[in-house]
Symmetry: C2
Subunit: 288 residues, 2 copies
Amino acid sequence: MYYGSIEAGGTKFVCAVADDNLNILERVSFPTTSPEETMKQVFSFFDQYDLSAIGIGSFGPIDVDPKSATYGYITNTPKLLWRNFDFLGTVKKRYNVPVAWTTDVNAAAYGEYYQGAGKGKESCLYLTIGTGVGGGFVRNGELFQGKTHPEMGHIMVKMHPNDEQNGICPSHGSCLEGLASGYAIEQRYDRSAKTIDEDHSIWEFEAYYLAQALWNYTLILTPEVIVLGGGVMKQDHLIDKVRKELEAICNDYIPLPNLEEYVVLPGLGDDQATIGCFLLAKEALKDQ
Amino acid sequence: MYYGSIEAGGTKFVCAVADDNLNILERVSFPTTSPEETMKQVFSFFDQYDLSAIGIGSFGPIDVDPKSATYGYITNTPKLLWRNFDFLGTVKKRYNVPVAWTTDVNAAAYGEYYQGAGKGKESCLYLTIGTGVGGGFVRNGELFQGKTHPEMGHIMVKMHPNDEQNGICPSHGSCLEGLASGYAIEQRYDRSAKTIDEDHSIWEFEAYYLAQALWNYTLILTPEVIVLGGGVMKQDHLIDKVRKELEAICNDYIPLPNLEEYVVLPGLGDDQATIGCFLLAKEALKDQ
């Protein structure tokens, strides 16, 4: 029994095949160019295997409403070549097997919930703070998506009083992604996050924005654990700054869980979306 | 078959009894004073009926985790007399019938979902903008609560650039409730919301704060409809201002539903929590 995973990011695709125990047998990665070119690479990889089911975690926005005429499509992405691409249909046409379909961050949340930092919890929120900011949520074993999926990277937050640079989101200016993504840090302060000293006030701003987001997610979704992934979180000092800001914002209003256990780094390194896709593929086969 | 409803608000209790068709037979209301005094009034009302089940929608925060030792308690409310009051236990001890237990705003969301403005929708978010700000959410027929319940009135939002008055929340200063509740309007601008002309810039600020909140809830919860209740929403002109601000914030980033159908006033007047409690009581009897 072989399962296929497609983690379709805005900059690169990661495809992998696993056996029935979800051991990864092979994995390839290539840049996201055009649907024609990129899907050709996906197919030439998967054609080598006799797959039983496939899981797709795609960059968005995507149509997740099974009753919609464009179910399975990537919708109004700024990546124009991919706009209105029938991703799920294209994969299903090639391989006559069950295919699970969700966002890349939902797949990542699913992976962390079942096999990573969210194992044994009632619910798990996964956030990626990378080129962009996005989130996925799993509760009582199920993906949180209905007619549409969350887009929680673009929520509104307060400006830090000492931060004089506006956010750079083309749609919302100083929304969370416009202030706190890796790309936003680069554009706003004219330097790469990797080169910024850990005592620099930029990290104080970053922690303030992320903590506000975590506060809002906490009050609205009541997750049992929040997993912070993505490139920006590879700054080792950042997670503690976020925890401290979250505690300050809460100000004892609600009993926050122990923050070392509540706000955590991924349990699955960078593999959460791939593992999530395998798990979703397995589910799709079972539900067939 | 008689059902009892207890809508326990921070300032008043509303108790009601309905028949099997959920027609309200009798309703009483009295101020929220001490647990001893107020519960005595609750019991003297319900003692007249042979109730089959009861639904409680309580002000919070409350413990909704059935596995917790303090399940059914009001927890760390600023109303000190009610702190650590075993609400559910006290009611169950008096009446040996199934009792449903949730927050007042969750009960209201449940009422609107099944019989009000959310009827036939996949999910319904109910917000009250009154003395305080709070929200409840129902999805696929079920209350959204796990080990804890949402507390979405205290999320962070951006200040309006022309609003020079800080928010008044004792815990978070300029959080949503600290800026936009009826009490906040009174305290911040030194006048009652009822006396403010509809062209006054205060309403522009109010719409801006509420629209940011709706934007955040939309991105995180993806509700199919948002119902705005509570005293402040009795200003007829306000809902349209909120819709316009929401459209401006979204800036075509996601395809918002038709706003006249997406952001709406209650379908059940001020009765949504009472009806929600009856429905929850009926469910509790069925699940017994």
